[in-house]
């Protein structure tokens, strides 16, 4: 029995990790959020349905997720500490981000001591990853967990942080800028080409369904025939809501015109893997060289309206280069 336990403990650990990761907390949307206070209120309800009232307007914000950096950049604020290099992109903070304090540890296990050193008054993290930090952060700073599953959620978080930081005007402007761009693309798009965003390898891959954050944007502006699994389907093997391991047979049947791919964990880019794979190479997108490696920071990790806006510009130019030779404003 002992060796049986030793044998299954690692598997259980992995399964628990994934189940925990996939036991998604419902994403608050502007329509279902528990936040009912006025724009000047310092109370928020996050994705874990935890309601917190801040003692003062936050000025020292620690970002444990790129979405936080995306939001702060649009509000004209800067984080005091981050745990990635996302902000160094010129569209966000550029070289200035190199001066931000770095939170050590890993994405899934950020170093709480480093967070404490930053002396924050608000910490922003991601659902299914950071919520377990709440007890450890209790004496340090309140934790705001975000879980965007659609661009409406990204807008909600932008406005909510804008409200908490006293920058509602900037938040509203940024949100409107994104919505205007989305509407402009939607109005002008021929919508006669199908696209698919996926990541991984040619054997082990996940796709972003229409129920995912990037899927919610792409499905607005082009054909994106990848519906979310029906009710009762098990949780995905991903902490990203709406990202699913998907049937390659279904992908072959739909035969998308354009593939957006993000390579994971291999020297050979996924686009090259697909071109040399005996099955994937039959796809129209592969045969017509319409497989594009994307910047995962914009398409996947950013999760904010500015990242989604950059992904939108890139995607529409790739899908409809004649209609959108340059980004819409």
């Amino acid at each position: 029995m002992r060796q049986q336990l030793l044998r299954i403990v690692p598997l259980l650990f992995v399964m628990m990790l994934v189940i925990a990761a996939c036991g998604s907390s419902p994403a608050p949307s502007s329509s279902k959020s528990g936040t009912t206070s006025t724009t000047e209120s310092l109370t928020f309800t996050d994705a874990t349905h935890t309601t917190v009232t801040l003692s003062k307007r936050p000025t020292r914000i620690v970002c444990l997720v790129s979405l936080c950096e995306d939001i702060l950049a649009q509000l004209g604020l800067s984080p005091v500490a981050v745990n990635d290099t996302f902000g160094q992109d010129p569209h966000f903070f550029g070289a200035r981000a190199k001066g931000f304090m770095t939170i050590g540890g890993t994405f899934f296990q950020p170093n709480v001591e480093d967070i404490a050193k930053a002396n924050p008054d608000l910490v922003i993290g991601l659902a299914n990853v950071d919520e377990n930090l709440r007890p450890a952060l209790q004496p340090i700073a309140p934790l705001y967990i975000m879980n965007p599953t659609s661009y409406n959620d990204s807008i909600f978080y932008l406005k909510d942080i804008g409200r908490l930081t006293g920058r509602s005007a900037q938040a509203n402007q940024a949100a409107q800028r994104f919505l205007n761009k989305l509407a402009a693309y939607k109005a002008k798009s021929p919508k006669n080409k199908s696209a698919l965003l996926l990541y991984g390898s040619d054997v082990n891959f996940n796709i972003f369904t229409a129920a995912s954050l990037p899927g919610s944007v792409l499905s607005q502006v082009t054909s994106y025939p990848w519906p979310a699994p029906g009710p009762g389907a098990p949780a995905a093997s991903d902490h990203e809501p709406g990202a699913e391991a998907y049937s390659l047979e279904k992908i072959l049947a739909v035969n998308p015109d354009v593939l957006f791919v993000a390579s994971v964990g291999a020297a050979q880019p996924l686009s090259k893997q697909l071109a040399s794979n005996p099955v994937w190479s039959h796809l129209k997108a592969v045969q017509t060289h319409q497989v594009y490696e994307v910047n995962p920071n914009y398409y996947i990790f950013g999760r904010g309206t500015e990242s989604l806006s950059l992904a939108l510009d890139d995607a529409m130019n790739k899908i409809y280069p004649n209609v959108f030779p340059t980004p819409l404003t």
Binding site: L6, V14, V18, V203, D238, A245, Q268, V279
Partner: protein, 342 residues
């Protein structure tokens, strides 16, 4: 007269098991080839077999469904044989390939490549995983060669496998956002999207190791009598045991490299065979366990593919969810028996 009756009954049980398993395997194979996107009729499948059919259906059947089915059969049989060899040679009903460090060795390699984005060509990953599995098992087997009794062998193997698994967990904790979910697909074991390239990697190992495993029936039967009796019968217990461990490694290494560490087939199939046949005779258990392993894995994979289609679930989740409770039930039923084997 009574012996004759037992022998007669055993023959009937054997025939029933083989016939039932074959019928199940054929039914699963047909469903695996027919169901999916697109769903096919039998005439449509027959047309594809004869070189006809639409291009999409032909591609899906010949390049996705068929290699996946063949791989499932090979992997199921190889895992089951590996489990039988280990359980009988170590005289422990819970012995499995995980004790050999093969799964952990292969997983360490894949985890390192995935998490640290090592510059490795994709086509080389199964080969590197195979090398990792072989290195892991070599360490275990070499360590075991200094140890005599089977209980200590098992503990040594479990400790080394746990050490390698700890490395995987350390890698995982360092993983970036999407790397971990892709690694997860490998860790639970899957047959999805495997093509003939993957079958070709496993096939040579199957062709060599399966017949050799079936030839081990006699020494396994002797080892089941206990080390002292086996020595008395002229068997060099440690050498034979190490050879069997090496053979188990050969059976499992390629499967883990290509499909990931699929759980419970190696444990469950031999127990089911013993349960149905009511014997520990390795001459009967080995081929029957192999057949049952193929049925279990292809059946679980069919379910994994179709249960929530078009969403794919790794087959390892189903083998664990279904195999775990069944194994517990079998072990509970055996709890009162003296040897705990059947």
């Amino acid at each position: 007269m009574k012996t004759l009756s037992i022998w007669h009954r055993r023959r009937i049980q054997l025939l029933l098991l083989v016939a039932g398993s074959m019928v199940l395997l054929i039914a699963i194979s047909l469903l695996a080839l027919l169901l999916g996107i697109p769903n096919l009729s039998l005439p449509a499948l027959w047309a594809i077999v004869n070189g006809g059919g639409g291009p999409l259906a032909r591609l899906v059947v010949t390049q996705l469904r068929l290699p996946r089915l063949v791989l499932g059969m090979l992997a199921g049989a190889m895992l089951a044989l590996s489990g039988s060899l280990l359980q009988d040679s170590l005289r422990n009903p819970l012995a499995g390939p995980e004790l050999l460090g093969v799964s952990a060795g292969a997983t360490v390699v894949v985890a390192a490549i995935t998490i640290f984005h090592l510059p490795v060509l994709l086509i080389a990953i199964p080969w590197l995983a195979l090398a990792g599995g072989l290195v892991g098992s070599s360490v275990v087997i070499l360590t075991m060669s200094r140890v005599g009794d089977s209980a200590r062998l098992i503990l040594t193997g479990a400790a080394l496998a746990a050490l390698l698994n700890a490395c995987v967990i350390i890698f995982m904790s360092l993983g970036a956002q999407n790397d971990l979910s892709i690694l997860f697909l490998f860790l639970v074991g899957s047959l999805a999207n495997r093509t003939w390239v993957h079958v070709q990697l496993v096939l040579p190992w199957a062709l060599v190791a399966i017949p050799l495993a079936l030839l081990c029936a006699r020494p396994l039967n002797i080892l089941q009598l206990g080390d002292d009796v086996a020595r008395g019968l002229g068997l060099h217990v440690l050498h034979v045991r190490l050879l069997i461990l090496a053979l188990s490694t050969a059976l499992v290494a390629a499967v883990v490299a290509v499909c990931g560490p699929i759980s419970f087939i190696a444990l469950l199939a031999p127990h089911l065979a013993r349960r149905v046949l009511r014997t520990n005779d390795a001459r009967l258990i080995l081929p029957c366990a192999a057949l049952l392993g193929a049925v279990l894995l292809t059946g679980a994979d069919l379910f994994a593919r179709e249960a929530f289609a078009p969403q794919e679930l790794p087959v390892g989740i189903w083998t664990t969810l279904v195999g775990g409770p069944i194994l517990l039930l079998l072990l509970r039923q055996q709890a009162g028996k003296p040897r705990g084997m059947s």
